[in-house]
Structures are given as C-alpha cells and as structure tokens.
C-alpha cells in the first residue's frame, strides 16, 4: 500500500520585545539565572499581570505579515498543567479567542508550481521557566531559571496542508524570512527563538480520512524538521503496514540517532478564561495604522527587483529572502552601481567573504557605501576585477576608503599605452616561439602572451587596452 502523510505545524516564535509579556522585566533569557524576575513573573500572591503593548504590536505585525486577519476581540486563557517549569500551574495563552485567524504562505512546490500552505490561527502566549539539570557531586539536581518565564511568544498553528518534509522545510524557511522582515523576531531555531513541532499522520494515498496524529518535537534546525518528519512518516507507514495502531502521543527527535522516541502521554484540559487580563479589542483604525508600518514583504520586493532592477526571478527571490541583504543591495544600487554588477559582486564576492570571516553583513566593516566606491572604480576601469577582489579583502582589515587602498597599494590599473607598449615589447622579445606560433595560425598563443604581459604588470594592466595594443603589434585583429 502506498501512503501519504498529513502534516500540520505548530511553530513558537519568541518576540524580540524589550520586556516580558506581563511585566516590565527585561526580556533577556540568556542573562545570569533569575536576575530578570519580579513578583509578577514569579507569580507571587497578589501579583496582577499587566499585558504589554509592545508584545501586542509585535505579535499583530507578525500576523499581518503572514496575511492573517486580526480578530476584533481576543483574550487570554489559563492553560492548566503542573510541571516545575510552570510553578503557577497555568500558562497564559489564547485558547478560545486567538489574536488572528487565517493567512498562509505560498511556497514553490516540489513540482515548481506555487503551493499555498494555510495558517489556521496565531495566538499569543507566555513562555515558561527553563529547567537546568545538573549534578551536585553524585546527586542529580534540577534548577529553575525564571528569566524566560513570561517571555512573549506567538504560536502559529497551520492547517494540515503539508504532505512532505519538503513542504514543511520550505514553509519554515519562508516563515522565518517573513517574520524577520516585519522585525518581530530573529527566528533562530538554533538558539531557540523559533521552535517547530509537527503533527503527523499517515493514510493510504488517495483517501481523505484524518488518522490519529503523533506530535514530534525537539528539532533544532530546518534540516532536522525535514529529517524528523521523513523518519516519522516511514515509522508510521511501517507500523500501519504491520497492522499496529498509531496512538496519540508526543515523540522527541534524536538528531544523533536520527530517530523519534516516545516522550509522554498528552495531558490537555480545556482552558479557563483568565479573569485578570482584560480582553484585547482592536479597532479597525488601530489595525490599519499598524498595517501602514508593515515593510515591503519578500514576495512583493522580489517582484519589484525583477521589474525595477532587471534581475532574474531567482536572483530577486534570493536577494529578498533576507531583509538585510535586500536593503544592502538597494543601498549599493542607490549609489549608482548597475544592479547586475551589484548583484554579481554581492553574491559571488562579498557574501562568501563575510561568511568566511564569520560576520554578519550588517555588522561587517564593508558598508554599502564602501562597497559601492569599490565597484565604481571597477566600472570606471580604474582597477580591474583581480585588483577589485584584492581591495575587497583589504577593506575588512582597514578603515581606509577603497580609493586610499588602491592608491596606497598601487592597485590602479595601467591603461597608459606608452607604459603598456614597453611591457609588450619586452614580452615579445622574450617569447619569440610564441610569437612565431601565433603568426603560424595558433590563435591561443595570444592568450599566453597577454598572460605574460599581465604578469609583468603585476596584474595591473588594463586587459582591454592590452589586448588592443598587442593585437596591433602582431598585425592581427584584436
């Protein structure tokens, strides 16, 4: 029997707000344990949660960026469970009235056709504390760090529209791009600011039933998401084939062994409306004001890059996949650099160089202005491509302008025919065999001779002028 998978994702995104969701404590979970706490996020008796306006704005922007419809009224509920990472016994979450409904992301399907993956709803919730398990001598101890307790999260719950690991990976990548665009989160799976859980079931291909699903957690990268889903699909398919029943439970992805292992039975009671946090009512005016703050989203920007800058669709979507990259690109073209030149040098030279040095583009010493100055000298034939690559390397190590680097280190291209003539004559004198070869009809000898002159010039000869002069001297057409 052939199976197909039915997959839905639940994605937690940690909002990059300055404070926690219900108090003024700094939202910096990585600080020394338990320094960012107060009676509210420790849930001391008498504390009253105060919902943060910034969390509402960042969460709402994220919803709008994903094409979701903000609900006129949403509210917090108490999601009851007892575990030491949640000593107050309930998590504030929006179970009954979520912040937004609908929305979705269009990905390029495996067959190349666009494919819409729909979002069911997006709700806000607070994060819980972090448990640290250690050994004190030979005694295992567990410590609780409340820095993360009350940190602002949104959870994006998709429709079960996904069929393959590819769908899930593409969705997660596109989601990350879009959320970074609106600036609500860094969305790093590696450091935990984005956590993806997958609900997976299988059914005979061609049927429409919804079978018992299994939840898979603990994927720390996009690749793990794909691997874990692929593994779970084959595990369930094999189980069904063997006549075993799939039971509702949660499994953890083990990236080392590349298997999913069962974790715990699901305990979920209905949530009770929280009586302390007032319902959130959004006016159409508020929503429109917020919408006007939305940046140009990646799909729209890619389209504009094609029409305005003449890039190919592939180049345009690559550049617009990362807001920093897109902004950098347009800052360079804004300095008068031809878009194709900017695109080419950015992707083939600057990005690899930045990556090699383990830097971020935005924090690199090669600013758009310095990069544009370099490309300007290239396009004015003041330096050649070889020299430009070398100058770029120097720009990472010095604060000097590209012009100063070119001047100080003698990278300026030799275009003066007099100077080149002397070099050419010397090379022709020294390589009579090659000259004879060329005259005897072997055209490739020309390439050899150009290489020799270029070498003699220390790589600085203007290749175009050099070729013209050499051809003249050999009596050939350039």
């Amino acid at each position: 029997m052939e199976f197909e998978a039915v997959i839905g994702l639940e994605i937690h995104v940690e909002l990059n707000c300055r404070t926690k969701m219900f108090c003024d404590c700094p939202n910096r979970p990585g600080d020394d344990p338990n320094v960012n706490t107060c009676p509210i996020c420790l849930w001391f008796p008498g504390a009253v949660p105060r919902f943060s306006q910034e969390a509402l704005e960042k969460a709402s922007l994220l919803c709008l960026g994903l094409g979701a419809t903000l609900q006129p009224k949403s509210a917090f509920d108490q999601k009851v469970y007892y575990y030491p990472d949640l000593p107050k016994g309930y998590q504030l979450s929006q179970a009954h009235l979520p912040l937004s409904r609908g929305g979705g992301i269009e990905i390029a399907g495996e067959d190349g056709n666009p494919r819409m993956l729909r979002i069911h709803h997006i709700h806000m919730e607070e994060d819980v504390a972090k448990l640290v398990h250690e050994m004190e001598g030979r005694t295992p101890i567990s410590l609780v760090d409340f820095n993360r307790a009350g940190a602002p999260l949104v959870e994006i719950v998709t429709e079960p529209d996904f069929r393959t690991p590819y769908d899930a990976m593409e969705f997660v990548k596109a989601l990350r791009t879009q959320v970074r665009y609106v600036g609500s989160s860094e969305c790093s799976m590696e450091n935990g600011s984005m956590r993806v859980d997958a609900n997976i079931s299988v059914r005979p291909r061609g049927t429409t039933q919804m079978n018992t699903k299994v939840e898979v957690k603990n994927m720390n990268s996009v690749r793990h998401v794909g691997d874990a889903i692929a593994h779970e699909i084959s595990r369930q398919s094999a189980a069904v084939q063997a006549g075993e029943a799939v039971t509702l439970h949660t499994r953890l992805w083990d990236p080392d062994k590349k298997v999913t292992v069962p974790m715990r039975g699901k305990f979920e009671g209905p949530c009770v409306p929280d009586p302390a946090v007032p319902a959130i009512e959004l006016s159409p005016e508020w929503i429109e004001t917020l919408r006007s703050r939305l940046p140009e989203m990646p799909a729209a920007r890619a389209e504009r890059f094609v029409s305005q800058h003449g890039l190919t669709g592939e180049e345009a979507s690559f550049l617009s996949s990362d807001p920093e990259l897109a902004v950098f690109f347009e800052a360079v073209t804004g300095e008068g650099i031809a878009p194709r030149t900017a695109m080419h040098w950015l992707t083939t030279q600057l990005l690899p160089a930045v990556r090699e040095r383990r830097q971020e583009l935005s924090a690199s010493p090669v600013t758009p202005a310095r990069f544009a100055s370099l490309l300007k000298m290239l396009s004015r034939d003041e330096i050649n491509a070889n020299a430009a690559r070398e100058v770029l390397g120097h720009l990472f190590d010095t604060g000097e302008s590209p012009e100063a680097v070119v001047q100080a280190r003698g990278f300026r291209q030799v275009s003066d025919p007099g100077a080149l003539d002397a070099l050419i004559d010397k090379v022709l004198d020294g390589n009579p065999a090659a000259v004879a070869d060329f005259r005897g009809g072997q055209g490739k000898a020309m390439g050899f001779l150009i290489g020799q002159v270029m070498q003699a010039s220390g790589g600085k000869a203007n290749p175009k002028i050099l070729r013209e002069l050499l051809a003249g001297k050999l009596g050939a057409k350039p």
Binding site: P45, G89, Y90, V272, P275
Partner: protein
C-alpha cells in the same frame, strides 16, 4: 497571640496628615501590606510576608489612615469559618475593616458585627495585592459603623491603577455626600427571594420595608424569576476559576514543603495536598471536575452569568435601587453546601459585579438588609444608606 489579630502594628510617632487622618483601619491577612504576614488563612501561604503594599493599602496610607493590623481570615477569604472579620470593629480596636467579598463575606461579617458593610462595583477598586480566590467575583469590601468613613475610604482607594490593567480607565464616581429625595427614589423588592427566608425572618424583613415606606420611599415589587440561578452560577463558574487560579499557590516557593518526597512530582503533589484545608480542597476539586469533566456546564454557567447581569441591569429601569434581605452566616459549615447556603442572598452581587451595601438592623427587634444598584452607582448607593441611617440616628451616620 491576639485572638483576632495575626499582626498588630504599633502606632506611628505622629499621625500622617490627610483626609483619613486618625482613622484606624484593620485589614485581613489576604490583603498585602509590605512586610506583614500575609498567609490568607491558608497553609499554602504559611509564613509568607507580602513584598509590597496592595494598592488599597498604599492609598489608605497616603490618605493618612493608620493601618492598625491584620486579622485572621478564612482560607483565602472564602466564607467566614475561622475568620475574625468584623471583630476588630466590635471590640472598637478599629474604625474600619477591609476584607475580600467573594460570595458575600463582607456583608455577612457586617451583619455579624452589626455594622455597615459595603462591596463596591467590580472594577472600581484595584485588585493589586489582594490574595484572592475567584478574581472575577471578588471585591475589596469596607466595613464601618459610619457610612461617612466608608465613603472617605472609597474616595481614597477607588479609581484606575497602573498596577491593575483590569480596571477600566474611568474616573471614579464623585463620593461627596449627596442629598437623597425619597419621593423621587423608587425602591424595588425582589418577589422571588421569599422562599429563602423563615417566616420570622420574612416578617422582620417586611417590617424593615415598612420602615422605608414610612420614610417616604415609593416601594414596588420587581421580579427576577431566575434568581435561584445566582448561587449555582457562582458555585460552578467560581469553583472552576478558583481551581485554575490557585495553581500558583504551590507550597514550594512559599508556604511549607512536605518533607520526604522522592521526586519533584511527589513533592508538588504532597505539598499542595497538605496545604489546603478540607473545605477549600473540596471546592477546588469541584472546580477541577467541572473544568475537565463537565466543561460544557462551565460554559453554560458563564453564559447564564452574562444573562443574569443583564437582567439585573434591566431591573434598574423599574426601580432605582433594590432592597434585599440578608441572613447571618452559619458559624461552622460542615460542607460546601452549608457554606453556599449562607450566601444564598448575597452571591448575586458577586456574580453581576454590582455594588451592594448592608445596613444593620435599626434596633433589637428589626432586620438588617442589603441595598443594591446598577454598576458604578456606588456613590448614590452610599448616599441612600447615609440618608436612612441619619433618619435612625438623628444625623450621625
């Protein structure tokens, strides 16, 4: 230790100036005062001291009141078993007392001490620092022999609080003493509460209503056929809310941990199990039952609650204020049913959030009663109470 105070505050060297200068206010141990024991009458908070003043406490201090101590509370202020509420007034150790009114405790304690008891509109007084049980139903009640003192306290504590966003951002009512014209103030009597009183109580209540008529107030009967649902709604919705909200009292970070647990799960279970008293535990279990096994009934209760609030609001079109009887609480309820029976005539105001004032009997052979009005009619309600008390006391309310 004092039989009614869990904490007594030594007097200040000099009184603080302000509108409440010289007024001695006792609070219950479920209202936070920085550094004072705040156990809310529960083992779950044994030895816990508040970190900060509740907003009501802070505002009382700022207005010059003298916080004279904290009295014994029933567990989380629910019911009056074990509670010393009202005792400090009876012993003249305080001029006013503050306590949480969750199902009618403020009014029943006032009845017990034969003083006035006022439960303000829900949302008028900040809940910051109140260690409560059912946040959507409880308000901070004020007890005093004098309505003027209650009014001065309300004027000091009411209004928006940046530490409690659940309060609407509305200006508090004008609490200056207002004149009441009896001929223009219609009082309504609920015809549907009769079965809840004994014949003798019924007769006393009729006498009290007769007194109101004699004072010149038009009195008319109004009907709320569903009034029997108030108690059920309170019990179902309240217990679910209590069960969920008390999760934070884990007996681990405060209160007492049970010794000898093998792992954290056991430690949580046994500590929480040991922390709560039997009556509260059965209430929380009932709430957990409705939450996890009968969620539909809980949703029904919430829907009915909204309808009852609308019904009560509608009655204010037929009468300016309602007059309701009040009975005393059972001293030691043995079961939840006993406990709730005592609230049969008071729980309505906690369900709807409307303000309500208990006036003590005019004499030995009379009955006390409750006066209630629409939400945020607090100032007018106090003015009415003051008018009635002045008639009795010759202008010394």
């Amino acid at each position: 230790m004092d039989s009614i105070f869990v904490y007594r505050h030594a007097g200040p060297a000099a009184p603080t100036a302000g509108p409440l200068q010289g007024i001695r206010v006792a609070i219950q141990s479920d209202i936070s005062a920085a550094g004072w024991p705040t156990d809310a009458g529960s083992g779950a908070l044994a030895d816990f001291s508040a970190l900060e003043d509740a907003t009501v406490v802070q505002r009382l201090r700022n207005a010059g009141a003298f916080l004279c101590g904290s009295t014994r509370a029933s567990e989380f202020g629910f019911g009056l078993q074990g509670s010393a509420a009202g005792e400090a007034l009876r012993r003249k150790d305080a001029d006013a007392e503050l306590l949480l009114d969750i199902a009618g405790e403020g009014r029943l304690a006032a009845a017990r001490a034969a003083v006035c008891g006022f439960k303000p509109s829900y949302g008028l007084v900040s809940r910051f620092g109140l260690v409560g049980l059912i946040p959507s139903m409880e308000s901070c009640a004020v007890l005093s022999d004098r309505i003027g003192t209650i009014r001065d306290i309300l004027r000091a504590v009411a209004g928006p609080d940046e530490r409690d966003f659940s309060l609407p951002d509305e200006e508090p009512p004008d609490f200056s003493a207002g004149g009441v014209d009896p001929r223009k103030t219609t009082l309504g009597i609920l015809s549907d509460t009769h079965g809840l009183l004994s014949d003798a109580q019924e007769a006393l209540f009729r006498d009290a209503v007769g007194g109101l008529k004699k004072a010149g107030f038009p009195v008319r009967e109004v009907s709320l056929p569903d009034s029997a649902l108030f108690l059920l709604v309170h019990r179902i919705a309240g217990s679910v809310e209590a069960s969920s909200c008390t999760g934070r009292y884990d007996s681990v970070r405060y209160g007492r941990r049970s010794p000898g647990a093998r792992n954290w799960n056991d430690m949580y279970l046994s500590s929480r199990g040991a922390a709560f008293g039997p009556l509260l535990k059965s209430y929380l279990l009932q709430g957990a039952f409705f939450q996890f096994e009968r969620y539909g009934a809980y949703e029904d209760a919430c829907r009915i609650r909204a309808r009852l609030a609308a019904d009560m609001q509608r009655l204010t079109g037929e009468a300016d204020f309602l007059v309701l009887p009040a009975t005393a609480a059972a001293a030691a309820p043995a079961s939840l049913a006993d406990l709730y029976a005592a609230f049969a005539l008071t729980a309505f105001a906690n369900v709807t959030g409307q303000p309500v004032l208990y006036l003590p009997p005019a004499g030995d052979a009379a009955a006390g009663f409750q006066l209630t009005g629409p939400r945020r009619s607090d100032a007018r309600l106090l003015a009415l109470g003051e008018h009635l008390l002045n008639l009795r006391r010759g202008g010394n309310a």
